[in-house]
Amino acid sequence: MGRPAGAALAAAFLVLGAGAVIAQSDPIATRMGLMKQNEENAIAVVRMMRGQAPFDAAKVDAAFAQWTDTAQKLPSLFPDNSKSGQKTRAAPKIWTSKVDFDEKAAAFGKVVADNRDKAKGSLDGLRAAVPAIGNACDACHKDYRLAKQ
C-alpha cells in the first residue's frame, strides 16, 4: 500500500470514527439522517418500478445495503436523552414500548434481507419485493412516528 492510499485509509477511519462519535452524542441527528437516506433510496427505487428511471441493480443493492444499516442501528438510536429536540417526530410511545419497537426494527431488517436478491435480480423482482418493505416501514411509522408539523 502506497502512502497516498494509506493516508486515504487513515482519513476514512477518522471520518468513520467521527461519525460513530456523532452517533453517540447526537442520536436525533443520526436517526434523522438515516431516515432521510432511507426515503431517498425508496424514491429512487420507486422511480425504477414506475419506469421513470432505468432499472439499475447496483443502485437497488446500495438501497438495500443502506436499509440494512438502518435496521441494525435503529434500536440504539433512541436513548432516554433523545425524546425531544430538533423537531424530532419520534413518538413518546417508543420509550414505553421499546420491546415492540425493537421487534419492528428487526422485522424491517428481516424483510430487507429476505428480499434483497429478488429485488436486484430484475425489475419484476423489484416490483414484487418493494411493497413488503414499504409495509415494514409503515408498521413502525404508524405507531412510533408523529405527523410533521
Partner: protein, 300 residues
C-alpha cells in the same frame, strides 16, 4: 314566600327536564324517508370504494392483526372526554351490524342514532358521513355485510361526566350538526366536485385536519388548518395552501398513493392507515381529491 320559591324552583326544574328530554330525543327515521328509490341493486365495487375512502377499518378493525376487513372493534381512543371503545361493525348478527337493515344503517351514518334509538357519540364522524349520497351508503352497507362476521362486543365507553350521559349528545347535535347534503359547486369542474365529495363526505379528512372547540366541534373557519391526533399522540398538519403552497396537485395525489411527500419524506401516525386505503382507490379518485385539496385556501 319560601313556599312560592320552592314551587317556582320545582316548576323550573320540570320545565328544564322536559325541554332537555324533548330537545335531546334521538331522531327516528322512517324507511320511506330514506330508501329512495325503495329498491336498490348494490354495487359492491362502489361499496368497497366507500369502505376504503371512509377509512372504516382505521378505527373498527380488530387491533393487533393485519386484516382490514375484520371489523370486530375494540380499539380504545383516549380523548379529553374520556376513552371511547370502538364498536364491532362486522357482519356478526349479534355483536356487529349483521342484523341491521338499510334504514338503521343510514340513520346511524346520517343522524348518529343507533338501531336501539340511542345517540352515537360524534367520535364516529357522522358529521361528515351524513353528506354521503344515499346510493353510496347503501352500497357501503351491502359491502360491509360481505365481510367476515367477528363475535365479541367492545367494552362500554368510559367517559367523564356529563359526557357519559348520551342525551347530552342531543344538545351537541343541535349546536353543531351541519348540513346533511353535499352541495356540488356548479362553477367548478366535475373532477373538483368529485374530489370535494370524497374529501368532505366519506373521506372525513377535516375531522382530524381541523382544530376543534372546547366541546369538540370543528371550528368551521379553520377547517383543514391542522388539528390533534385522534390517538392522542402529537398533532395533525395543516393541509391548506396556507401551509402547503409549494405542493402541486400531483404531490397530493402522490401522498395518497405512496405516502411520499415532495420533501423526500413519508407520512406517519394515523395517516399511514389512511394511505393504506387511498392507495387502493382509482388513480382518477386520488387525482380528483388532489385537485380539490390544491384549491383549499389557508386560515381566515
Amino acid at each position: 314566600m319560601l313556599r312560592r320559591l320552592l314551587v317556582l324552583a320545582i316548576a323550573a326544574l320540570v320545565i328544564g327536564v322536559t325541554a332537555f328530554w324533548y330537545l335531546t330525543t334521538p331522531e327516528a327515521i322512517s324507511p320511506s324517508a330514506v330508501l329512495v328509490p325503495p329498491t336498490h341493486t348494490p354495487n359492491l365495487e362502489n361499496g368497497r370504494t366507500m369502505f376504503l375512502i371512509g377509512g372504516c377499518s382505521s378505527c373498527h378493525a380488530t387491533p393487533k392483526q393485519d386484516d382490514a376487513t375484520r371489523l370486530g372493534g375494540g380499539l380504545a381512543l383516549p380523548t379529553a372526554f374520556g376513552t371511547f371503545h370502538v364498536p364491532n361493525i362486522s357482519s356478526d348478527a349479534k355483536d356487529g351490524l349483521g342484523g341491521w337493515n338499510e334504514t338503521q344503517f343510514i340513520t346511524a351514518m346520517r343522524h348518529g342514532v343507533s338501531p336501539s334509538g340511542q345517540h352515537l357519540y360524534p367520535a364516529f364522524p357522522y358529521t361528515s358521513y351524513r353528506m354521503m349520497r344515499t346510493e353510496d351508503l347503501r352500497d357501503l352497507f351491502a359491502y360491509l355485510k360481505t365481510l367476515p362476521a367477528i363475535s365479541g362486543a367492545a367494552p362500554d365507553h368510559a367517559l367523564k361526566f356529563p359526557f357519559s350521559i348520551r342525551r347530552t349528545v342531543g344538545l351537541w347535535k343541535l349546536l353543531f350538526l351541519g348540513d346533511m347534503q353535499f352541495k356540488p359547486d356548479p362553477a367548478q369542474s366535475a373532477q373538483w366536485n368529485r374530489g370535494a365529495y370524497l374529501v368532505n363526505a366519506p373521506g372525513h379528512c377535516a375531522e382530524c385536519h381541523s382544530p376543534r372547540n372546547l366541546l369538540g366541534a370543528i371550528i368551521a373557519s379553520r377547517r383543514f388548518t391542522g388539528g390533534q391526533s385522534p390517538t392522542g399522540q402529537g398533532g395533525v398538519p395543516d393541509i391548506t395552501q396556507g401551509k402547503l403552497h409549494d405542493w402541486k396537485a400531483e404531490d397530493f395525489a402522490e401522498v395518497l398513493d405512496s405516502g411520499m411527500t415532495p420533501d423526500s419524506d413519508r407520512v406517519g401516525g394515523a395517516m399511514v392507515d389512511v394511505v393504506a386505503n387511498t392507495r387502493q382507490l382509482s388513480s382518477a379518485d386520488r387525482e380528483a381529491m388532489a385537485v380539490y385539496l390544491k384549491s383549499l385556501g389557508g386560515a381566515k
